[in-house]
Every structure is written in C-alpha cells, then in structure tokens.
C-alpha cells in the first residue's frame, strides 16, 4: 500500500524534509510505493537570516531568494495552494482551492509570523528587518538618520534569538563608520533582567555593550508606542523618547494552526524528543511551529528536519524509529561588520560564547551562500 507523505509549509524546515525524504525514499517513490507532496504559500524561498544585512546595505536582495521549485528535488510534488484546515482526526488537509489532500504521515512546518499589531502603535512607529519590505524601510531610515537617539526594542516570542544583539552591534559600527556615533545614543531594551535570554550570552554581551557605550533598559516589556510623540512605554512603567525606533516584533505561529485548533497562538504542543504532535503518532512538527521551549531559529529547523527525515525513512522502510532529537541549536553571532562568534547548545549542554574573530564572520558570510545547499538537502 502506498505511503502518502504530506508536508505543510515550504520554508526552510519543510524544504529540507522534502529533499531529504526524496533522496532516502527514492526507491519507494520510483516504484509508486510512496508519494511526497509539499504545500506552499509562495513560490519564493527567502533566506531569512540574510535580512540582517539589508539595513546596512550589505546584501543584494537578489541573493536572498530563489524559486522554491528550483531548490526542490524533482521527485517532490510542490503545490502552491496554502493549507486552510489541517484535520488530524481524519488525516487530511483542505487547501484554499478547496482541494483535499490525504496523508499517512504529515509534517507541519508552517513557521511563524510577525504580529506587531499586538502592541498599540508599534507597527506605525517602529521599523523592523524581519521581512524584506521591513528591512528595506529600515535601510532607508538608517540612511536618512543624521544622529539622535536610536531605541532597539525586543519583544517576545521572536525567532532568531541572537538577531537583537547582532543588529545592535552592527548598528554601532555602522554609525561609527558614517561619523555619526558621537552624535547618537543607542538604547537596547529587553524583556527580562539581563541582555539576553541565554545567560552566558547575556554575560558576554554586557561588557561588550559597556565598552561601546551602548545603553540598555532591562525588564522592558513593551506596552505601547506613540508614533507622533515618538515615545515607547513599557508595562513596567518606563517611557523612552526616540528619533529612530527599530523593533523585533512579537511573533505568532501560522494562522492555519490556530484555525485548525492545533495549538494556542499557532504553536503546536510537541514532544521535544520525537517531534510528534503530543497525542499523535503520525503528525510531525518542525521548526518555529513547535511549542518546544528552545530557540526558534533556522538551525533548529534544520536539525529537527534531519531527525524527522531519518525517523520517517525508517518507519516507511523498516517500521521502526531511528533516533530522537537532542535539542541541538547552532547560531552564528555577528558582533559587528567584520567580526563574529557562535554558540551551540542542546537540551543538556548550555551555550558558551567564544571571543569574536574575523574568521567566524567570514564563516557566516560563507554560510549565507552555502545555505542553498542546506535547503537542497546536500549540506
């Protein structure tokens, strides 16, 4: 009997799973013993970590995206038809076109979305760089900035956990290069009582901020922004004025997840080791979509995808599980425009940042180009 595998979402996680399964199950796909379909919402595959460079004019937009079909294995059936309802009781997905896809295994990789509208005034008063349009506007705002107070405001939950530090350190150097740093203040706000959720990273960042004269307001959970008066206020009762406000907006999971009743705010309750939706035996969850309390990052999606590829391959071919996800995450951290460091950690091992080097920065730039091999399932 044919095994029908359906992937919902064609971002990084979904694409890697599709390409990995196409390679591992080539025999079954050729013989008609398995089918592999991926449902996408767009033809364009965006390399999201590259958006970090756009505000500083250090990325060409053409390098950041490719046609999804061009990076998918030819054995994958790619359908541009967003999922409208995921019915895990009846093992089927209804798409916006009305077409219904049935499955034996489903991988939900629908990612996260920005919801700045959750904070009054944030959308109108702040810039962000978490999508291409936002990154372009942030670039224009930075280009037009001639000195004053920049507030870099972090909200939760958000993906790419080190991006707030990266944008801050890169902006510091960018303003120095333009001769504007002496005429500018940079104030970084963070929701908890230190500079980063990861304690070792926060300890590393503190002297770096002090050395560069970057100010910070911790315990700052954004309540509202006044775009006319140019102020931002916190739930804790603090108010800051700004000339330029750059935010990391809060995120939610995909609307289809909420609409399907699979998880509050679009995050699906997921077993942290099997990556199965809790209570299910054939619904896998990958990437930002899980509710696992670890980083929502591209590397998380990548390492989770590797686990799911191996497990579905073994389930189809041998009827057994291969391995469990160990919580592995790896993040490069740009510490300016020409230096970088990295962290890796898993469920058992905390992260430990090392001193920044130019070599790691180059490695990050190299990875920005090698990403397409990752998405293609080759790296």
């Amino acid at each position: 009997m044919k095994t029908r595998i359906l992937i919902v979402g064609s971002g990084m996680g979904g694409t890697i799973v599709a390409n990995g399964l196409a390679r591992n199950l080539s025999h079954e796909l050729r013989n008609g013993d398995a089918s592999l379909t991926i449902l996408g919402t767009t033809n364009t595959h965006l390399y999201q970590p590259g958006l970090l460079y756009v505000p500083f004019g250090r990325a060409r937009e053409i390098e950041l995206s490719r046609n999804e079909r061009s990076i998918l294995d030819r054995r994958v059936n790619f359908i541009l038809d967003p999922a409208k309802l995921i019915d895990v009781e009846h093992n089927c997905v209804e798409c916006e076109s009305g077409k219904i896809h049935r499955y034996d295994y489903i991988i939900i990789a629908t990612g996260s979305r920005l919801v700045p509208e959750m904070i009054p005034g944030l959308k109108e008063g702040a810039h962000h760089f978490y999508d291409l349009e936002g990154a372009r506007k942030t670039r224009e705002a930075i280009d037009n900035f001639e000195g004053g107070r920049v507030v870099i405001n972090i909200n939760v939950p958000h993906k790419c956990p080190v991006a707030p530090l990266e944008i801050t350190l890169m902006l510091d150097e960018h303003l120095s290069e333009r001769g504007l740093r002496d005429k500018s203040e940079i104030i970084y706000t963070y929701p908890i009582g230190r500079l980063h959720g990861l304690e070792p990273v926060a300890h590393w960042a503190l002297p770096e901020f002090d050395r560069r004269g970057i100010q910070y307001e911790t315990f700052f959970n954004t309540k509202e922004v006044d775009p006319v008066g140019k102020t931002i206020s916190s739930e804790e009762g603090d108010t800051l004025s700004y000339d330029l406000l750059i935010t990391i907006p809060p995120h939610k999971g995909a609307a289809v997840v909420e609409a399907s009743g699979l998880g509050p705010s679009g995050w699906i309750p997921t077993d942290p080791k099997t990556l199965l939706m809790k209570g299910s035996e054939n619904v896998f969850v990958v990437g930002d979509t899980t509710d696992i309390p670890i980083s929502k990052a591209g590397s998380t999606a990548h390492f989770e995808a590797d686990t799911v590829i191996q497990n579905i391959t073994h389930l189809v071919q041998e009827g057994r599980w291969a391995r469990q996800y160990d919580g592995k995450v790896f993040c490069f951290i740009e510490t300016g425009l020409s230096s970088g460091t990295y962290i890796w950690f898993n469920y058992e091992t905390p992260p430990k940042p090392t001193p920044p080097t130019q070599m790691v920065h180059w490695a990050k730039l190299a990875y920005n180009r090698m990403y397409w091999l990752s998405a293609g399932g080759l790296l």
Binding site: I192, G193, G197, P250, P264, P293, I294, F345
Partner: protein, 76 residues
C-alpha cells in the same frame, strides 16, 4: 474562574523560563495563572522580582526535587 497552564521549561536554555512566562502571559486573560517549571535557580529569584515590578501576583514559588515550580497570576 481562572485557568492555569503549565510551561515545562526545565530544558530551556533559550529563550529561557522567564521569557516563556512573559510570552505566555501575553496570551492569557486577567485572572489566569501560568505555572513555570525551571531548573534554573535564577528563575526563582528573577520571576518574583519581575512579577512584583509589573504588578502581577506571585501565587507560589517552591522547590520540588531538582526544579522550581513558580506560579504567577495575571493581574493587568
């Protein structure tokens, strides 16, 4: 009647138990409770401090075996 949800952040190095709590509280109604399970001793100090500063209510903060259970009620 208040609802209580539990976040098991005992393996959460990032974004960390308190960030999970803050994110969860944003989605709750006033009067709802969120329980955080954390192996990070810092959580048992930081979360009550933050709760007081923001104006939420600390319902309980207790050590169970090798982890802490901290319950916060949303007040505003």
């Amino acid at each position: 009647m208040s609802n209580r949800t539990t976040i098991d952040a005992r393996k959460a190095f990032c974004p960390g138990p308190m960030m999970e709590l803050i994110a969860a509280l944003k989605t709750k109604e006033i009067g709802d409770e969120v329980e955080v399970l954390s192996k990070d001793k810092g959580s048992s100090n930081d979360i009550p401090l933050w709760t007081k500063k923001v104006g939420h209510q600390l319902v309980s903060n207790e050590k169970i075996d090798d982890y802490w259970s901290i319950v916060v009620k949303k007040m505003k």
